[in-house]
Symmetry: C2
Subunit: 322 residues, 2 copies
């Protein structure tokens, strides 16, 4: 491990670019966030990335270090081998953007591009909760449910680079519609969006007086934060919505355990803030549905790199790749 | 590839040991079946295996070949590294049987042991339908639903050797009880047992006059063969039972596709004889539930090595291992 080298990890989100100066051991020495405008051209994002790389390179040079490689995680369909963002929900209108080539040309530093959820999963494996796990499933419970599979220490991309869609396994065939077009996906139940949808529904059915009050009588304005607040105050609708999210998460995890027999499942994302409200129901399903021997082997834990898993993982993948 | 060597593959089933003399290219030169008594001691099975090896070695010697390695596939919990059958539904009372050690000692030929469903999956990959697939999921629709994952050309065992339980992903959380203790597993719907259960139920509800007649008015005696016969004659209960088996198979396959993005799904086992009755419903679910780009990439085909996939795969794994 060359002492005079450091890595940069970038997490291209819809509203911001998160950037980190990362050591070869997976430690973040500097972390920055660059806001993005709602509509952004390729050039705007490239410029912000260049600014981030410049800022972090300056920081690195204070320790006489230079940047050995840059890793980028981006949502959407990624052509990893070519370093192209094929399409992305975060960047409307982008089509086949050769981000690796564009950046390597102007920066002269090798770039590795991967999916953001895969990068986050790898971050938890490399430097977070999954350090000692050979294989793990990372499930990010946010606005949607993302995820990544680490199998034998490597990101599992599938034969065509699109695998790991943990949020889109069907956990109840007759469940609510999912953003992906299917119904009853894990995401439809256990994302913040799914939890809020269910809480609204329950409040409209007359359950959840406390949550109704928090929302000033208008269920339409209920947010994930309000559900959490309601749950803390013992609101029935909030508690049911979170318990159901846990139940379906548990059903999904049981299938993943029986299928993959991983050492670990790492749960990340904003919903994990409500851990105590959804995990008992989740564990009940896991224990009743998965093979006992595999349940005994799997650790199910909260991620250890909130906000930064994607940045660290992107850097780690760049290190692995070059 | 040494021309003077051949492999033996063994498939230890509940009622018989299937044995094959297999070339280094995955061709079966001789195939034999040795019946087993209902209750069998370790020594009885060892003796039959020795007999099989002797018979096939004799055959091999006719071509001046000797046996380079022996692969064994067995149902149950396998400790692959140590070559131990920990426990098996086929062999009541067996506990931690060191089959590799026992056989290597007396035969002097290296032995590789794996799970039978993994062996069958590897057989289809090595010499069957999946020759050109980098990764595939093999789903065996028999009395139960077994399966195996081949990821990047290798059997996926999971971190503790127990992965690949494709039959025990939950496809409907409120579905019927499964032999594994869970409910709503793929196996509960799409195995021959599940199909027969559903057909019986429908006949009892007054559907399926043709099937009722085939069963001479007693739904309890309905078998998988009768359901197939009924379906051929247009019986309503048989057609519904097979269509539902297909529907849940499709739900399960959609999840596997979204999760693993494999090049291929190979379907094997007796139920595939009813292909035309269950596949349309299965494909409808796959298309409506999995990501379109991944559906376009995946081939879903019938296995090409009926009866022999396990034997061929066990031999192939032995070849790979030694």
């Amino acid at each position: 491990m060359p002492a005079n080298k450091a890595l940069i990890g970038l997490d291209l989100g819809g509203s911001a670019v998160k950037a980190g100066l990362v050591t070869y051991e997976g430690k973040v020495k500097e972390f920055k966030r660059y806001d993005l405008p709602p509509e952004k051209t390729v050039q705007q994002v490239i410029d912000i990335i260049k600014k981030a790389v410049e800022d972090l390179s300056t920081k690195a040079s204070e320790d006489n270090q230079e940047i050995g490689a840059i890793g980028i995680g981006a949502a959407g369909i990624i052509n990893m081998d070519k370093g192209i963002i094929v399409s992305s929900p975060n960047f409307h209108g982008w089509k086949d953007v050769p981000i690796k080539e564009l950046l390597e040309k102007s920066l002269g530093i090798p770039i590795h591009l991967d999916n953001d959820a895969n990068a986050a999963a790898y971050g938890e494996k490399w430097a977070g909760a999954g350090k000692n796990a050979r294989s793990l499933v990372c499930i990010t419970l946010g606005t949607g449910v993302g995820g990544g599979l680490i199998l034998n220490g490597e990101v599992w991309h599938g034969d065509y680079g699109m695998g790991g869609e943990v949020g889109h396994i069907t956990v109840d065939p007759d469940g609510p519609p999912c953003a992906c077009g299917n119904r009853g996906c894990l995401e439809a139940f256990s994302s913040a969006t799914g939890i809020v949808r269910r809480a609204k529904e329950l409040v409209k059915f007359g359950k959840g007086n406390i949550l109704a009050r928090i929302a000033r009588g208008n269920p339409e304005v209920i947010t994930g934060k309000m559900v959490y607040e309601g749950a803390l105050k013992g609101d029935e609708a909030a508690l049911i919505a979170l318990r159901e999210a846990g139940k379906y998460l548990g059903i999904g995890m049981a299938s993943l355990i029986n299928l993959l027999n991983p050492s670990m499942i790492v749960l990340t994302g904003e919903v994990t803030g409500s851990w105590d409200f959804f995990m008992p129901a989740a564990m009940e399903e896991v224990r009743s549905r998965a093979f006992q021997a595999m349940v005994e082997q799997v650790k199910i834990e909260k991620g250890k790199l909130p906000e930064k898993a994607g940045v660290i993982g992107a850097a780690g993948l760049a290190l692995k790749h070059f």
